[in-house]
Amino acid sequence: MLTEFTTSALAGYLVISGILLVIGLIGFFVRRNLIIMFLCTELIFIGAAIAFVAVGRYLFDYSGQVMVIFILTVAAAEAALALALVVLLHRQRDTLDADVYAELRE
């Protein structure tokens, strides 16, 4: 039986999820290793998942946990595609430095 869930407890979970999301964002901008950049997007997904489950718990609604299933799906698909691309790029240039691939934007 789910019991009452106070708004201050909800705020704690939302702040934790916000911190994880922002750290993932900073990591994505700051790191230059392609694989670590994609790992940081997974951190952003984790932060979003905590927010979904916390708000769903507050509203006694299981849709929040269902959203986490979809987040897991998107994360798995993203990991498969991104890592295939990274392996492809690594075979061409033999480096994981994102700056080396800066010419791709043109």
């Binding site: 789910l2 849709s63 269902v66 994981l96």
Partner: protein
């Protein structure tokens, strides 16, 4: 202060500065502990608050170390720590199924893929040389502006959470948990039978529709003869049943779309991998004409 810690952790630094950084990090952690303990003491939770502190702080600490560590394998291992701490937070939120699904899918499947590619890409040229650090892993790209923008955004998020959470509507639909039980007729009947064998099945629906009615004491059902039976909260469907029912009942199209996304990802990865072999064939020919001995042996290995 947290912003300063993240900024300091991102810079490559000499050992003395690292010790100072650790002291500063501990101080920040202590300050956060005090802050959150105050918030928890207000809410009155005891063990819940302690575990929330442990899992939350370890998640944030491991995340900071993950984006600041200069060796990619250790970044991935710190991410596993973040996932485990997050699973602990989900357990505190009574989302048991999602907690273990997160560990199985993230720490078990996705992280293995990342580790596999990391080890594939970071092979040492010389087997005797253990550290294969590269310069681009140690030098961050514009840490100051990234941290400033990131924490500006965090201030916005925190501010809106703090000011908005008190004006949230108080949820009054705690009784909605019982509606799932009505959709599971066999389990409903079996649990009613176990609770009171003399109850005359089936119960009668109220005028508004639902079989299970609510009042101040909790949920109850009424049989055809007008006998009232108070329902026990042990009869509620478990977390996994609730999540599964919500998934299939409320989001059937999204479920199909998720399957299509996974199928397309599989096709995409297969197509990319096939093209990779063609590229290396062309590369091998180009390399052979250029008489580059080291690259040609690597291309033949592919």
């Amino acid at each position: 202060m947290l912003a300063l810690t993240v900024f300091a952790a991102l810079r490559p630094s000499p050992p003395t500065m690292r010790i100072g950084m650790i002291v500063a990090g501990v101080a920040v952690a202590g300050w956060l502990v005090g802050l959150v303990t105050g918030a928890v003491a207000e809410s009155g939770g005891s063990t819940h608050g302690v575990f929330f502190l442990i899992f939350g702080l370890s998640a944030v600490g491991a995340a900071i170390r993950m984006v600041s560590h200069d060796r990619p394998i250790y970044c991935a291992l710190h991410f596993v720590l973040v996932v485990i701490a997050t699973a602990g937070l989900l357990l505190l939120l009574e989302a048991e199924f999602m907690a273990f699904a997160l560990i199985i899918v993230y720490a078990g499947a996705i992280l293995i893929t990342y580790m596999f590619v990391l080890m594939l890409a970071n092979q040492a040229d010389n087997p005797d040389e253990l550290r294969t650090d590269s310069v681009f892993d140690q030098l961050p790209r514009e840490p100051a502006s990234a941290v400033a923008v990131g924490f500006l955004m965090l201030c916005l998020v925190t501010g809106s959470v703090m000011s908005g959470s008190s004006s949230l509507p108080q949820p009054n639909n705690a009784n909605a948990q019982w509606t799932t039980l009505e959709h599971l007729p066999k389990q409903f009947e079996a649990s009613v039978e176990a609770l009171d064998p003399s109850f005359h099945w089936p119960p009668v629906a109220s005028d508004e529709g639902p079989l299970i009615r609510h009042d101040g004491d909790g949920a109850f059902i009424i049989s055809g003869e007008g006998v009232r039976l108070q329902l026990n909260t042990d009869m509620l469907p478990r977390n996994t049943q609730q999540v599964g029912w919500t998934l299939v009942n409320d989001y059937p199209v999204s479920l199909e779309l998720a399957g299509v996304i996974l199928l397309m990802a599989m096709f995409g990865a297969a197509v990319l991998a096939r093209r990779a072999i063609e590229l290396t064939d062309r590369e091998k020919r180009a390399v052979l004409t250029a008489h580059d001995s080291t690259s040609s042996s690597e291309a033949e290995g592919d």
